[in-house]
């Protein structure tokens, strides 16, 4: 999406675009990993990843590998790492893209066939000897930490670790230390301390320094969340009328009004609720299918002939595959009806939940089929209240390669503010709405507001019987 072309107020930047990156450097055995794990534990959010620079070791040649097994290969000089690839990966993550990270095997001294896919993360903790070595890499980092532990202590830790945990022989360890680890540490690692923002002497033992560091990170992350929320808020505030060429509200009919009354009635029994929601869902899906792309003839131009022997004029065919994505759990309410209309349809799922305190939406899980610019994408959520979850969901779909103009969002109850927010962020997305209300989502739970039900999520709870 050409971000630069759209106006500032109508941009949506998800938290995973410009994740907060913490870089941790220090000698081998200095306690970098322990510091990283402590931070991870303290942040305590699922969208945080810990990434070791070890993944970026260059694969060895046969000759180098032989040397490695005899402790004759220098793993401790900066060249042993593919810093360019690392820069590329971090840059890609910093841009919010889905990124694949190589996996290195010390057993075979090569990259394995596996790759770790990272997407949707808010915080990245990067640790390794040379985390702060390359200025191109360091510029992506928001917080640069150097763990400054005395080299002698590092040595003793390393000895212990390699003998006890890795079962290596003493002689080899000493040889490697004297020949490679120590000289490289002094020559290449130590100077990178200069580019650190925070230096932690003695690692996690240094409680004051750790507390300060963690407090700082918490503050930065809180500021980042606040900015995200503010941006979502701003998207709803744009004074632009709803574009009814893109937002299609089902025309009111006797049946729809009657069914809405049944669905809003708190005394409606479960079986009736499910039955009538399924009926409404079929009508909505049918309406949504009017906005996918069709072509008037087959790829091979073969005519359609009816059993009466005549060529059928005015033919129409669905262009490209239809893929459905639902936002768990409210979007799931559409799936039984969808499966009846398009039996073999692929269904992707997104779990996006709002923080109960701040209301900030978070992407927890995304399980999506292969997506591309040509697919007709139907996105489902039973209700749009603030529109934040849907906005985030659409952003994920675009990150996965779907074209904005081919996304059709399908929802039953929506607030004007929510729909505006989505449209402002993604003006080319089609939104099919069963019933559009004027209720203000900020007046959540206000009884005398006639449309208060619009501002509360209840459809999924009633549909699944968990209210």
């Amino acid at each position: 999406m050409p971000d630069s072309l759209s106006a500032q107020a109508t941009q949506y930047i998800p938290p995973w675009k410009s994740p907060y990156i913490i870089g941790i450097a220090g000698f081998s055995g200095s306690g970098k990993t322990t510091v990283a794990q402590k931070i991870l534990q303290e942040i305590n959010e699922p969208w945080t990843v810990l990434m070791s620079m070890d993944n970026f070791y260059r694969p060895l040649t046969a000759e180098q590998r032989e040397k490695a097994f005899e402790n004759e290969f220098d793993f401790d000089k900066p060249d042993a790492l593919d810093l360019d690839l690392m820069c590329e990966c971090i840059k890609s993550l910093k841009e919010g893209k889905k990124t694949e990270i190589p996996v290195y095997s010390f057993a075979s001294h090569s990259r394995t066939n596996q790759k770790i896919t990272i997407y949707g993360v808010n915080v990245i903790i990067l640790e390794g000897l040379y985390t702060l070595y390359n200025p191109d890499l360091a510029k992506f980092m928001d917080c640069k930490v150097y763990v400054d532990t005395d080299l002698d202590i590092c040595y003793s830790r390393r000895l212990l670790r390699d003998i006890v945990e890795r079962g290596r022989d003493l002689e080899g360890i000493i040889k490697q230390w004297d020949k490679f680890v120590k000289p490289n540490s002094v020559r290449y690692v130590k100077p990178t301390m200069q580019s650190a923002d925070i230096i932690i002497p003695r690692g996690t033992d240094n409680k004051i320094a750790m507390d300060l560091l963690i407090e700082h990170i918490h503050r930065q992350l809180a500021a980042k969340s606040a900015e995200h929320l503010l941006q979502l808020k701003a998207l709803g505030k744009v004074e632009k009328p709803i574009d009814y060429n893109k937002v299609h509200v089902l025309p009111s009919t006797n049946q729809l009004e009657g069914m809405k009354t049944i669905l809003l009635d708190r005394d409606t029994p479960y079986d009736s609720f499910i039955f009538y929601f399924n009926r409404v869902a079929s009508i909505l899906i049918s309406h949504a299918l009017d906005f996918i792309e069709y072509v008037p003839s087959r790829a091979d131009n073969r005519p359609v002939i009816s059993p009466t022997g005549l060529i059928v004029k005015d033919t129409m065919f669905i262009k490209d595959e239809i893929i459905a994505v639902d936002i768990i759990r409210a979007g799931d309410c559409f799936i039984p009806s969808l499966k009846k209309m398009i039996p073999g349809v692929k269904v992707g799922k997104l779990l996006i939940q709002s923080d109960s305190r701040t209301g900030e939406p978070h992407l927890h899980t995304e399980k999506l089929p292969a997506l591309n610019t040509d697919c007709n994408l139907l996105l489902f959520d039973a209700q749009v209240i603030s529109g934040a979850a849907a906005t985030m969901a659409i952003k994920v779909l675009l990150d996965y390669g779907v074209s904005e103009e081919r996304v059709v969002m399908c929802t039953y109850l929506a607030t004007e503010a929510g729909v505006k927010r989505i449209s402002n962020a993604f003006p080319k997305v089609t939104i099919v709405v069963g019933s559009l209300g004027t209720s203000d989502p900020s007046r959540k739970g206000v009884d005398h507001d006639m449309d208060s039900w619009m501002a509360n999520r209840f459809i999924d709870a009633r549909y699944f019987g968990t209210d």
Binding site: N254, T308, L310, M316
Partner: protein
Amino acid sequence: MTEVAKNIIQLRLTNQLRCLYTIIRDENTKRADFVFYSDRIIRLLVEEGLNQLPTKPKNVVTPTGATFHGYEFEGKICGVSIIRAGESMEQGLRDCCRSVRLGKILIQRDEETAMPKLFYVKLPSDISKRYVLLLDPLLATGGSASMAIEVLKQKGVPDERIIFLNVLASPEGIKVFQEKYPKIKVITGMIDDGLNEHKYVLPGVGDFGDRYYCV
């Protein structure tokens, strides 16, 4: 939907509808697909048919405790299918109205006179008090539909409470309704070009019952 003439209602002609009809018109379409896509059209027709029924205001209390000024369905209904092809539309009606009563009428062409002849009628006893959704996928000459309507009228169902649903209509059939039964609502998916000498709708879908039930 579009009201093409007084009481003649046609489904809104969207690309999706064109697509559904392309599939059922194609002579190479397999039976399973013919059934599946016909059923989708039938569902749209049933929803449109039900929309003709009246509602009255009703207030309900929502889960948030607010009062919602809504509507409730008014009037009892029943479905009446013309055997055999009309029965293909019963499930579509049941999918929207779970316990709807279904009457059946068998009309067949008399081999000697080539005129439609009534063989069998089973209807709910209180049919005169109900709205009747008359089901037959093809409206060709309007011969059997007229006969079925005469049966309903005999049982005391007024014209304005009969809604005739069909997948495909011929201009000839539509004309019969406009002249003979102007008060009956006809809801059709599409109106085709005309009829051939065997009274098949053109370009049509062939024999709907045969394709749906595989004879």
